[in-house]
Symmetry: C2
Subunit: 574 residues, 2 copies
């Protein structure tokens, strides 16, 4: 019958790579059925219980204890295995690769290798914030792999780093790619024109890998840790990442990857992304997509789609920024008035405008809070569907009769707060035989009225129909254009153009300075050099990528005594 034996070593600290290696060595010994080597945390006890490695000693162990449990076929086999633990530990030490660059503390590492701009930290969570603070004090960017770091510590670290123009990627940041070098878990991705900011580790790896598979490559992969997009942390690192990629001349397209952020934070991040000056692909997994495109933002439903979009966008990037000619408008002109004959077109317009304007009133609104109190009187941004029953009972539909719409057009044109009037012109059998012949003179007159009052009125129109319709699509378009209207056959294109225009007119004052010190791009552009604390394999990975690294043989300060650690911290801060 199988026998379980347990050894507990109090207060011993080993990293998790070591624990795994020891566990495997023990499990491979003759007569041993299974082995567990863990720190004595509650969840580890559960894990071992699940594979039937339970003992009273394990149950009594504390989180700081190293616990070794073996199940032998006989008591002798189990005891023999435990007897080999010291030997296995020393074997492992001697088999560790020799490296020239080793140090016993961050301080000595920094002295010996002052060129290292980066610090990789993967020590146990309760020690990680202290080490990170130390690295920031030394002016280093931090890649913080450790998890189980309290959120208050994260907030404090990011306050320090953002003031100093430094990045804290993490905590719980699985991956990052800087200057072609992968940190933590990272794939070998070719250099290319796409920059990624990600609050999702395997998300970043997956999108970057797909970009590589599709033949393109990346400039930076900036990880932030998942909690960065919580309301408490407020996307500090995420916003720094967008800022860096906006300024980096090699980055032509930006990709944002995350689980859905806190709604307020998502809004802030997207507002910032709108001002990035380059195309931004947004992949906030499980956040419903309301538009494929909003200005420079392109929305993806999956990470795979995000990679495809980014690669496609690189090919199309013109480098030109759209000139909305805002200077044509008088101050005070800021509102939209949409006068539709087609209900679905009016509805879709409201739907698309959600991405640009905080509120659009309508007689047939998307949500009842947006219901226009009086359909005959516009207010702020308004879209009126003149085909609704209230306008058509006993009268002709506005697709047949332009009269009501032309009256309303003139009213709106006289309103000094109106900047854009939006129309649809639906032709075909059943519709007015030549709507543009009536609408075009009205548009010209409306624009003239505004011009006489010192304003500029933009009239945008979508024409729905075909070249085979009795009214002839192209003739209708030419007439409307001749009157000075901006015309498209795509409702999406027209509404999006108007949305960008109105958003710009309404948010001229919004663009402020970022609430952080911009990171120094020249430091990020230098070949990556780093100090590593925690998992040795992370140092080995950097060496494999030919990035210079010093590995610190880190041990918890003051033997892990928390009171002493706190005193040491306070002394350093002075």
């Amino acid at each position: 019958m199988a026998v379980i034996k347990t050894e507990v070593r109090a207060g011993a600290y080993y990293d998790s790579a070591f624990l795994m290696q020891l566990q495997r060595s023990l499990a491979g010994l003759p007569g041993i059925q299974d082995a567990g080597v863990v720190m004595g945390t509650e969840s580890n006890k559960e894990l071992l219980a699940h594979i039937n490695l339970v003992s009273p000693e394990l149950q009594a162990a504390k989180p700081d204890d190293l616990v070794i449990v073996v199940r032998g076929e006989t008591e002798a086999a189990a005891l023999e295995a435990l007897g080999k633990v010291d030997e296995l530990i020393s074997q492992r030490k001697s088999s560790a690769p020799e490296r020239e660059m080793r140090a016993l503390s961050l301080e000595t590492a920094d002295q010996r290798f002052p060129g290292a701009a980066w610090t990789l930290i993967s020590v146990a969570g309760r020690y990680a914030a202290g080490v990170a603070r130390d690295a920031l004090r030394r002016g280093k960017h931090v890649f913080l792999f450790s998890d189980n770091v309290p959120v208050e510590e994260e907030i404090e670290l990011k306050k320090i780093s953002s003031e100093k123009g430094l990045l804290v990627m993490g905590p719980d940041c699985g991956t990052a790619m800087i200057g072609g070098i992968g940190l933590g878990f990272a794939n070998k991705i070719r250099k290319g024109p796409i920059g990624i900011v990600a609050a999702a580790g395997t998300g970043l790896q997956h999108v970057a890998s797909r970009i590589h598979q599709l033949g393109s490559g990346i400039t930076y992969g900036i990880g932030t840790g998942g909690r960065d997009l919580s309301e408490k942390v407020g996307a500090t690192t995420f916003r720094q990442g967008i800022d860096i990629l906006s300024r980096d001349p090699e980055t032509k397209v930006i990709v944002l990857v995350s689980k859905p952020p806190a709604p307020k934070v998502a809004e802030e991040v997207l507002q910032m992304a709108k001002r990035a000056g380059k195309p931004v692909v947004v992949s906030m997994v499980s956040r419903p997509v309301n538009a494929r495109r909003v200005g420079n933002l392109h929305f993806a439903t999956t990470m795979d789609e995000a990679a495809e979009l980014a690669v496609a966008l690189v090919k199309g990037v013109s480098g030109k920024t759209e000139d909305l000619k805002l200077e044509r408008f008088a101050s005070g002109q800021r509102y939209l008035r949409g006068l539709f004959s087609g209900g679905t077109l009016a509805y879709e317009a409201q739907y698309i405008l959600q991405n640009y304007l905080p509120k659009v009133w309508a007689n047939a609104p998307l949500n009842k809070e947006n219901k226009l109190p009086n359909s005959f009187v516009s207010q702020e941004h308004t879209i009126v569907d003149l085909g609704e029953d209230e306008f058509t009972v006993g009268r002709l539909h506005p697709m047949m009769d332009n009269e009501l719409r032309i009256r309303r057009l003139m009213e709106e044109a006289n309103d000094p707060s109106v900047a854009v009037i939006m129309l649809d012109v639906v032709i075909g059998f059943g519709s007015h035989p030549d709507p543009a012949s009536e609408l075009a003179p009205a548009i010209a007159k409306a624009k003239e009225t505004a011009a006489k009052a010192g304003r500029y009125l933009e009239v945008v129109a979508v024409v729905t129909g075909t070249d085979e319709d009795p009214q002839d699509l192209n003739k209708q378009i030419e007439l409307l254009k001749g009157a000075g209207a901006w015309v498209s056959t795509s409702n999406e294109e027209m509404v999006s153009y108007a949305g960008r225009l109105l958003e710009a007119l309404n948010s001229a004052e919004q663009a402020g300075v970022p609430a952080f010190t911009p990171a120094d791009l020249s430091v990020l552009q230098k070949p990556l050099a780093a100090i590593n604390l925690g998992l040795e394999s992370f140092a080995a990975n950097l060496e494999a990528q030919e990035a210079p690294v010093v590995h610190v043989e880190w041990r918890p300060p003051a033997g892990g005594n928390e009171k002493l650690i706190s005193i040491l911290e306070k002394m350093k801060a002075k």
Copy 2:
């Protein structure tokens, strides 16, 4: 000073085209500033008030009254204009185009033109249901343009029509296209391989026009009226439309267009669309998009995108249906077990699976209702992120250490209810040096275990990484495939494949007979011939398209007396 004069003609019925013509004629008379000719409804009174045409007589008018209001520069001019009303009415009558095919009732029209399979109805709303019932009795499809038809009438009409295998498109259906002929408001669209069902009039026109503009064309454009997708009406016509397009051999791609339906109805309609046997593009304007593709369903964020997608899909249609080889699975095998190392990949998998499975349990769920009670024990469909803290405190991450995942894989393989096991394999620096060398034998063993028990176990895997990673993407893929796994480098592709498989395994019993008599395709395929009641222009449009039509000089039965109408109705029903 301007003077307003009003004339009220009690109980007179005229269609709205007539009202507009009379109004314009009056407004064009010398000395007349403005004129209004409307039926005396409340909203018409409001409309006239808004353009300053108010009078006590107008206020006192009833909905059945014809009200003529003029504002003259002088009282004489106003009175003179009113004096010309009879003359204008008679002028208009004599200028109406002569047509051979005219009748005074639906009955005589049907007798003279029995080949007409269609009836177009645009009479005033309160009479429309009666006329439609009459047309259905005569075995005709109905295009019901009239609005203000009570919902109870719509439900009753559609009950009759769906039992008879007839369509009632509407009420409030603005457009339809049958056999290349447009009904109501309709564009001239070339014939082509795309069929449309739309609960949105200008939506149908816009999508069809865009398809034409993009060089393709349509088979049918089936309008349903917006209320068809309400819970009360239950999408009767919409479902008939999908059924027709599914069976029509000329239709290669189906497009569905609507405002967002009642959630329950949307679900039913999409379930039916999944069984259409051809690609279906879904454009439910403002319904958030959670996937670009779900099986044969392709989701668009705008109508313009829907048209683009449909045209692109036509080119790619292979005509082949995917063979999921369901017969390999034993009865009772129906559940998914996803064992992930990458948190974001696990999260996205749940997100994508929402489109295929009613509920997926997870230790890191999308919504807390889906929280797996015990992370160590799977139930029904389950996705476990083994990289969550509960599994990793003091242990190596599953991207570095496959042990825990392999144990779990074996547990799941032994569960006779499991059909699919899903894995991610994330390679790169930091990850296990050769994960497939450990996972592949485990997968082979798991499949063997199931096979020995008379089951088939599908193991699907996504590999994230590149050909330049130390583990080599292609080598990892080959190893996994060698063990019998289904492998992709796209998470979306893998999860969607598994989703289709699991949906099919779980819904074999779902597919039932539609709750309606299928429409006779051969009738729909015949050249369109119709009887028109209501707006004369609709008959003229059909003539312009060279479709034979009889126009009925329709007048309200029993002089509009509702009591008498109701008695007549009852007599007919016998």
